[in-house]
Symmetry: C2
Subunit: 311 residues, 2 copies
């Protein structure tokens, strides 16, 4: 017997304001709208309560962090219950003074907080100074049984790591959500922009294919952190939107604009997932006896002993 | 200091004949041609010495297997030495009576046999009855230091497994070769053909991106195993060609035809690879403390204990 109950996902792609309260009001309105459009599991973009503050290192910005539960989970819980939808929300978590995480929370359709995921892979690149703000997650990769589907959440930089997708799918997740904040450096956009956005999409489609799961990437839009020079915007990050849903075959079912706010609602079909996995049964043939080396930094012989099967 | 010596790969996409001797003569001519075009590392498609015999289970077909070293490695060694090129060749290995592998051999540019890789992931699907013929590899994932580059070899079905690509790249491979025999069931081609070929390409481009390596997929062309019904070919497999080289950014640099024989020669630049890895430093941030569950079949709690960090 296979699962047969279809479910609909809703991806909220939006601009963010500087004011957390304004963003919370906005997300509530959008979730309400997504629910009206039929969405049963709604996901926000990464750190939706503020601008993407990691463009600079400033200790005052830790003021943006909030406890979990806290003001944002209160709002998300209420709207989840009101609309009867599952909500995946991405927040800046204050765990203790001097200890912060980039955390996703999952509220079930009755408003209850099912659990959280703390971003495991933390980037640090020019204008993405996340290692300054976020302690890497310490609760591992996770899947959550919700009212409508078993889902996994991973966050942004995680999307470049097949290990994270695999470990979440192996826990039975039928759909992976990736709240994201990725954009172009305006100075690089002409030369590398198209290839960067395509690589981002390709990588996540591959997670869908190799694991036989639906994948939803939710990215923000807008040019944040720019300075105005002679009437022209310079610097900052141009978030490239392009939120999308891939089916378990890697087919992009719907894709958002590069610049505009959008709500994408897509129906996912467990029967289709079952069919894809039966026809391309990758999970059947994994060589778990030979994957031990995955837990090594590099297989150059300088680390501790890896699985002998992997050398 | 980064590696700076460029190298050129050559992918030989061809039809195969039923006769191993004819295929060996053909590959020798093609390798000679590839070398003239500037290729320094030449790779064959999967099981190039015969038709793709796994379309049926027939014990007589084990006659196609050969020892390593054997007739094919003799020919590959000679032409490697003659042309001064590295050769990656895919063979049906007879290790002992009743013990056979799908094996790739690597000859260095002086003709010496550097080593072999035995296909780790073995498929078994209608018309791809490989579990009947091939014992899964028992020597793990491998990288080989050759005259022109450090390379890894994986074979066909391996291409759906991020673990194989990762474990090979972690050994320092700068380029991964995938000798392949993949095609359409004619009855499925109209409905699923385009998505299947695109998923195949997407998956391997993702290996290039997540590991920051060049990836070369070498597939055969031709409709094999069809029966003629009223002047029309029915059944069998239509091998879809489409051999390609992806750069470490996932950009397809060159791609072969769906139906015709071709030799693709592409220059690879370690300086470009270095640049891609510096700008998207995925290897820096792997959470090796939390990947233990990768060696589990499924994380449903019924297996032996996985790494606690991964649940």
């Amino acid at each position: 017997m296979s699962k047969t109950k279809k479910f609909s996902v809703g991806l909220v792609q939006m601009h963010c304001d500087a004011d957390p309260e304004a963003n919370r009001e906005k997300i509530v309105a959008r979730i309400r709208e997504a629910a009206k459009l039929g969405a049963q599991i709604v996901c926000t973009q990464e750190l939706f309560t503020s601008h993407y503050f990691c463009q600079r290192e400033d200790s005052a910005l830790f003021d943006l962090a909030e406890p979990i539960p806290g003001p944002s989970t209160k709002v998300l819980s209420q709207i989840a219950k009101e609309c009867g939808v599952v909500i995946v929300g991405s927040l800046f978590e204050r765990r203790a003074a001097g200890l912060y995480h980039n955390t996703a929370v999952v509220h079930d359709a009755d408003g209850s907080l099912l659990g959280m995921y703390r971003k495991m892979h933390i980037p640090d690149d020019p204008l993405y100074y996340e290692k300054y703000y976020f302690t890497p997650g310490d609760i591992g990769f996770r899947a959550f049984e919700t009212k409508f589907a078993k889902l996994g959440v991973l966050v942004c930089w995680d999307q470049w790591y097949p290990e994270g997708a695999r470990l979440t799918a192996l826990q039975g997740a039928d759909v992976l959500f990736y709240p994201t904040a990725i954009g172009w450096h305006p100075s690089e956009k002409a030369q590398y922009g198209a290839a960067q956005a395509d690589a981002w999409r390709t990588m996540q489609r591959a997670h869908a294919i190799s694991n036989g799961v639906y994948v939803c990437a939710v990215n923000r839009v807008g040019h944040e952190g720019a300075t105005e020079v002679a009437g022209k915007k310079e610097g900052g990050l141009e978030f490239w939107g392009g939120s999308f849903v891939s089916d378990p075959f890697g087919v992009v079912l719907k894709e958002g604009s590069r610049t505009d706010e959008e709500i994408l609602v897509v129906e996912c079909d467990p029967a289709h997932q079952e069919s894809v996995r039966r026809n391309w049964p990758f999970l059947r043939d994994r060589r778990i006896d030979a994957y031990g080396g995955i837990t090594q930094r590099y297989l150059d012989g300088t680390g501790s002993a890896g699985g002998s099967g992997s050398r």
